[in-house]
Symmetry: D2
Subunit: 284 residues, 4 copies
């Protein structure tokens, strides 16, 4: 027992059946805890049950786990337990465009985004100054067809070295190899500059202009080997009209890109994002 | 036991303390029920705890209540239990403008709004045809300073006669007397045609035009004797610009008024609205 | 000269070149008119110039046309001139779902949508009562593979008989034949229940659920033989989450469908919609 | 004649009367110019006419002014003519919170906001590093009741020294004296962290929480001596719910504050903002 109150976040996924809430809340009582927030969802699509709760208790991790063990074993649940206050270890991949990186770093320093970023890895040197201003280590290597395998290997090295929980592609603009997508499955978030599933692939603002849409948007999604088809975490749109050129759409869209990516990272860092097959469950 | 599965909605409000979720979910297990949805909130402002859950069980009301009784007594909770499928008995007050009434009636008939409307009571005859088309009884009496007490007495008579749970002021345009506000406390919803707390009182679109706002809105709120100050249930806004006259603002705003009121009525009918002092807790 | 002031709307499209605004405004001066509103746009995509203005004058049509003639001839412009107050003759095609028709009829009767509807033509009888309540002639014929040609011929008969300017597919749910699409080119508006170009084709809410999008939408577009690919006039979206079933998405989406279609019809009726190749120019 | 094409922006305000568009467009023809964009508005409230157009011509300033002179004199118009490419000289006032300043500086450097900032003047030193990173001169002085007059005098000195066209209060948090408000009339923009006219004054997020609103917002407005009552330039809102604390509302609202202020500054810098009495006319 730590003798002081701390807030823990517990996330659980298991097959749905009657009595789960009672069982889990019983373990919380056994852990001398008070449930502060609690959300759950039963997916009709998959038959899976998802739960996120925050727990106020004086017990330490071992004490809470001991209380939970019989319940989660009985449910055959996958689960995670962590202190709410612990920042999520995040590796950011970047290229030349700085708006997403700028937003992430500013929000992080302002205390509104609970992540720590041991390194920004880029394929261009342009954003080194921005990272440096925020005191973040920055590393860049050119990516060519020849060097791409080495760059991707470096990503995995850094993931390993810093025990990275989340990789954020902040307008990184390179397609990850299928192997890397697989290795980072469920823990890499990309921002695509369109309202998916519209305008997959390259130049979405050009596509949006040509199609004459009245709203443009941005989509944050998990990276999968199926390009721009990964599970969607967050989306936003903004109204545009015929008078706006592709260049103007690109400028307008940047606000949506950065806010959408930052929100998705925030949701992930707060353990609010669950995967249910190809869909996400988001407990806001 | 009814021998067939039915879905019940249970709402609870009580002082917050550890173990409530476990206690209530235990009662659900005792009621042979599976929790389908469950939401709760602990208010730091008031120290109150609020919970809404839906329960799938073959027990009848008496059976569920027997399972719940010891828990809700111990919690000293206020609570309600009802079949999800039972429509909320609703009295609609109207005047001349039909957009809100039209939306309510269309949505109700379409099966998207689970209310039954035994009567529309109006201070003008204009909307009798619309009510009639939907097969709803319509009654109108002119309201003057002299007849207002009689009209308000008639409201209470109808509330009594039809065991009304919700009174909806669908652009009724008359200020209810303090006594009536008190009598209908927590069960009368008004739509105000501005984004409160901006532009209280008369002619909000005129006020909005004069102030030059860039968004206009609508607010659905509980009726209190403090005009336009009741607890807010739902709000929406829409973008406008300098070129729009008061008449155009009025036309544009009608969409927001009707969708906002209908949404508030839907939330209430689904027992998703709780009062926490002067604020509402809404479980969507 | 009619001796009384009237407001006319003039729309012009021509190849762009210097001096057009001066030339057209000169014709307005020659027509003794005061320009009340005026909007123009030069399309870089097509090199076309588009203009919409409203003119306050005491001249009658012949007088205005005489003043305009030399200018529009010199510009080799396509143009239309009409009284702002004249309602657009509109044929509505419907099926079983009434939310779009209901919104169009209510808005039209309320004076917020300047169209006249000489007939609603449907492939099911369900909405006859609704049309009847609004005093609109209603005609229905079942559409089968065998009867479809006759039904489409009937559409063209009605277009001819009532000198129809706009055909509105208010959730008509049938695909028009290429020949009919061609015949109604630029004057038939459909509502598709997704945010195009996402989720073309059937069951867009099912598709949206499966893809796990966080916003659903509706798109009003001109009908072309290329299904769901016609020029977009208006789009709206609304936020949804994982907890909403396909049925709920369908219910939520109806508001967006009806408001989006009504807005597109309003823009068309006010002569605010221009075609620039495959894109629309919208003067709001 | 400069022999090369340049784009100029011309803004005009005058009393409304027939023939203005023709007269002004005639002057544009006389200036050998092609009108690229053109917007105008006749205010029924004030009887004033407003116009903004961009002109492509090879003439220099003197040449264009010579062509315009007879027209604007005849109209007794107030007018401004400038190169579209010339950045607006902007003084930014700041305090401790950096989100608005960060957004302005990032957007400016990215080429999406056509302003130059010769100085950031603050009442706290905290944001010196941020300004420095963007290569902007930074100056700070504590503001106390005693030093406030000196600080305000310093503002006017800088306005004078750098020929400042726009003063931006980027969460400056100090109330300007009536004299300074007067001196900066029509060229000082403030961001208020609420959807005005709701929640004027201090702690708007606290007020919003207490009132239980369902949307919070931000308002960019011209500074006047009547606190939070100046003409509104831009507003945005974002949806919130009961579960969000004042701290969370504050965090959520920051995105709206910075995007709203940046947008207002952009509109002003592009000469799209006109004052019509207490309202703004915005040509987007």
């Amino acid at each position: 027992m730590s003798n002081e109150h701390q807030i823990w976040v517990l996330t659980i996924g298991c097959n749905d059946r009657p009595g789960i809430v009672h069982a889990v809340s019983g373990a919380c009582v056994a852990a001398d805890g008070n449930i502060v927030e609690c959300q759950q969802f039963s997916s009709e699509d998959s038959g899976r049950f998802f739960m996120r709760l925050t727990l106020d208790t004086v017990l330490d991790r071992a004490g809470i786990e001991a209380a939970l063990a019989p319940v989660v074993e009985d449910l055959d649940a996958s689960w995670e337990l962590d202190l709410v206050s612990r920042p999520t270890r995040t590796l950011v991949l970047a290229s030349k465009a700085g708006h997403c990186l700028n937003d992430l770093l500013f929000r992080q320093r302002s205390g509104h985004l609970n992540i720590e970023i041991p390194r920004v890895l880029a394929n261009h040197p342009d954003l080194g100054g921005l990272a440096g201003f925020y005191g973040i280590d920055f590393e860049d290597h050119a990516v060519t067809p020849e060097t791409k395998p080495a760059f991707e290997a470096r990503i995995l090295e850094l993931v390993d070295e810093f025990d990275i929980e989340l990789v954020v592609l902040a307008r990184y603009m390179q397609i990850l190899s299928p192997g890397l997508c697989e290795a980072l499955s469920g823990r890499a978030i990309n921002i695509h500059h369109s309202f998916l599933p519209g305008f997959k692939g390259a130049n979405p603002y050009r596509q949006a202009h040509n199609r004459g849409v009245k709203l443009i948007g941005a989509t944050a999604h998990f990276v999968t080997s199926d390009l721009d088809e990964g599970p969607i975490i967050e989306q936003n749109v903004v109204r545009v009209d015929h008078s706006q050129s592709v260049t103007q759409l690109t400028s307008i869209g940047q606000d949506e890109e950065s806010r959408t990516l930052t929100e998705a990272v925030k949701l992930f860092a707060e353990r609010r994002v669950f995967l249910d097959g190809h869909r996400t469950i988001i407990f806001r």
